[in-house]
Amino acid sequence: MDRKGLAQIIYQICTVTLVAIVVGAAASLAAIGFVESVHYLNGQLLISPYARVLAEGRPLLVAAATLLVPAAGGLVVGLIVHFLIPERRGLAPPDAILAAQTSGPAPGFRSGLASSFAALVSLGSGASVGQYGPLVYLGAMFGSLAGRLRLNLRHQRSIAIACGVAAAISTAFNAPIAGLVFAHEVILRHYSLRAFAPVTVAAATGYIVANVIFDRPALFLVSFDRVEHSYEFLFFAVEGVLCAGLAWAFMRLLRASTGAARHYIAWPWARPAVAGLAVGLVALWIPEVMGIGQETLRFATIEGAFGIGELGLIIIAKLAVTALCVGFGFVGGVFSPALLIGILFGAFYGLVLPYLIPVPHSGLVVYAICGMMALASSVIGAPLTTILIVFELTRSYDLTIAAMVAVVFSNLISYRVVGRSLFDLQLRAWGFDLSLGRDKAILENHRIRDYLSREFTAVDESESVGGVRQRLVDDHRAEAMVLEETGALLGVIRVQGVLNSPAAMPARDAMITSFTTFDEDTSVWDSMDMLRGFLGEAVPLVSHSGRLLGVVPEEAVIRAYLEIVHDLREEENEAA
């Protein structure tokens, strides 16, 4: 290896590592700041039970806070989203996925900040939304910033985004391996050493930062000995299937709620306030629906904390309120609510099971955790990540294996019924379909316009066939584009079609009018599809107004496909 090559490799490794550490530390600190701020706001605004009990002497104040804080928070969120975020919505993991997968323009830093602030207000004022979505976006935002630096690294943006996301998850769950896997499973969608190495460094950085300065109790700490009976694995699998059903219901509700918001409330900025008011009203009766519900999450793993009926009621209320909050435009994720609904459903299943099948089982904890992970993994489409979260938080093999069974059965079903995840559903709605893998989505994301050629033979509609024949011979082409004076494409003349036509015949009478065209938005994927059965030389590409912009030779479509797929394969197989 020559010296220049060696220097280049050393530069690459050092720069990538540095980017990973800087982005990881920034994302991790931001995540801590975010979680601490939510906690602080919950305390100040009388959302957390601890703060509410300290104000026990003033029940009217507590009731007023319950009713008004989420509504007021909703109004603030609505105004921020409407006036400060150009995208007019909270930014979320799908934005991070899109920014990592494509090279198109990503939401700006200002949008990111405003969106994170809106999420902070949403969570701080007790809306039933999740905190991990905003944290993932926060990480992606720092990655995106680093992606803009001129460091001359390949796939710089996607790797930097993955680093930020991995660090954020690693910090939030105190689970570095889960952070690392999440970044690959959800954001990058492939495994290569080039990405794997820096993302690992970032996840480790997040873990270190979290351990040094973060002092939040873990998401769940449970004590569990072992699964006592082998037949229980069957119960876990059934639980997984039921959770897939719940995930389906959850996503349907989310969509219905989004539709309802659009239908009934004309002003988008007012929608979150309405949802907030509903949260407050329900919370007066069922306080568990407010906020992230750390306490409820813990109670779900304690035998005797809930009655069966009570659990059913809280599950339904939390489902409805979460769908309302997310659909009506509060800014926040769905992972935390899914975890909570899942663990409550798991506890419910664990309580009901002995009545249905009266055989001994290993207690509530394992069923609660299985439900939690099965539902959450179906919603965010990250089975590996959720399995690892269980493992890293409990360090129990038995619990992890039980959760694993529930998670895969849930994902098997939900993948078929609703698709890989809520994120992918959203991306599909924006025209980025990952359901058949990265290749199709990325081919769909590239425009064939980029492969446009200006080399074509244009003829006027009134020109004679003889003249056209001569020009084609001169240009060494077999096809001519027949244009109006305005430049609009009228038809195509193929040389084989006019060999015997009279020389004086005007071009407009000899041309073919039914032929394949591309437009400005035709993607590489679509162009491949449209070329099926195509016999010509090149496909004309016309603007929306019908003007001919150029042609795309058959060769260019194949070249586009090969180049993009080659890039993907290279990205997936690269070393550091």
């Binding site: 039970p49 026990e56 109790p217 873990a218 306490e295 813990r298 109670f299 304690i302 005797g304």
Partner: protein
């Protein structure tokens, strides 16, 4: 006239000079230089007598009378309401002190009365964080622990909070303080709630109900105690198999009297005691003088060499060595010993001081309930 006035000036000056002395003598005669300190009795009070009260009387000539106090604000409120102050200095649990301060039952204490450490470190830095407050000075770290009578369990010994609630494996009476303090935490700890989340869960209605249901499981086996020395008696007399109580008392019984008592450090509840001055007290100056004396590092270390409660001043901690009478090394018995801190719960005094009524009501409700044993 001139003469007269000169004479009168001399007379007046002499009179003025003698005034403070005579006033002081007057006050001394009326109150017989007795300062009333409300404190907790037993071995604890004994350690205070030797470390603080006797040396104070020796140094100042002011006698100290102690009155028995078992925590809470009831007596203090009554004395303030009737304007009949009986107590001057009170040795209060930090959460009570904080609540009493908010209610205006306590006098303010000037932090400048606190002496610096022997090496000159100012008191503010020498005391642990948050120990110096407007109306109380936190002086010791104590711990409420579960202890058991070794004779009651000849085979396997209990070693966790969970075992306290396990009447099947560890049968026998349980002695508990008749107060909504401690038992709430232990009820949830025994259900493997992590200690970081105890007070968050206890802040919910569900948490309190859960604690009540857990306590229902041992309702029939509870012996109530109110005064700090009782748990030791209940254990040594064989009336109770397990008891909650203050770690210093159990230490005293074991180390000094050879009682067959072992302490379970799992789930120990770390609390703090603070010196306070009753607002109604007519001897606030003397009381201040006493607190200044009792918070000197050497005095605090002297108490820690008699009973296993940790002083809140770093300089005092460094002076703690062997027990003054028996020569037992004291540090391993301190609640703050590293080996005991792993499963310790730091009492959230803010939560305690704000939930006085709530806990009281919960406790009365629970006591009033008919036993509803879970199946």
């Amino acid at each position: 006239m001139k003469r007269l006035s000169a004479f009168s000036v001399v007379f007046t000056v002499a009179g003025l000079l003698s005034l403070p002395a005579s006033l002081h003598a007057q006050a001394g005669r009326d109150d017989a230089d007795v300062l009333t300190v409300a404190t907790w009795g037993g071995a604890y009070e004994e350690s205070q007598r030797r470390a603080y009260f006797e040396p104070f009387t020796e140094a100042t000539g002011i006698a100290i009378k102690t009155v028995h106090y078992d925590g809470g604000l009831r007596e203090l409120r009554e004395q303030a309401a009737n304007n009949r102050p009986e107590w001057d200095v009170i040795d209060m649990i930090q959460s009570d002190a904080s609540a009493a301060c908010q209610e205006g039952l306590l006098a303010t204490i000037d932090p400048r009365i606190l002496t610096p450490a022997p090496d000159g470190t100012p008191a503010v830095e020498d005391f642990m964080a948050d120990a110096i407050q407007p109306c109380f000075i936190t002086q010791i770290v104590f711990s409420t622990v579960i202890a058991f009578d070794n004779r009651a369990f000849p085979g396997m010994k209990p070693d966790s909070v969970e075992d306290f609630f396990d009447l099947e494996t560890f049968p026998g009476k349980r002695a508990l303080r008749k107060s909504p303090a401690g038992l709430l935490e232990w009820a949830l700890l025994s259900l493997s709630v992590p200690r970081e989340q105890l007070y968050d869960l206890l802040s919910t209605r569900r948490g309190l109900e859960l604690a009540a249901r857990r306590l229902d499981g041992i309702r029939g086996s509870i012996l109530w105690w109110t005064s700090g020395e009782e748990p030791v008696e209940l254990l040594t007399s064989g009336q109770a198999a397990m008891a909650t109580g203050y770690n210093g008392r159990f230490f005293h019984a074991r180390a000094m009297e050879g009682a067959p008592i072992s302490v379970i450090w799992d789930g120990q509840l770390i609390g703090f005691n603070s010196w306070t001055i009753a607002r109604a007290s007519k001897r606030a100056e003397l009381a201040t003088e006493f607190i200044a004396f009792a918070t000197q590092p050497a005095r605090m270390a002297a108490q820690a060499s008699l009973i296993s409660y940790g002083p809140t001043r770093k300089s005092a901690q460094q002076m703690v060595g062997l027990h003054r009478d028996t020569g037992v090394p004291m540090r391993p018995y301190m609640p703050t010993a590293p080996a005991h801190m792993g499963r310790a719960v730091i009492r959230d005094h803010r939560w305690y001081s704000q939930t006085v009524d709530l806990r009281e009501q919960w406790f009365l409700d629970w006591l009033g309930q008919v036993d509803q044993k879970p199946q």
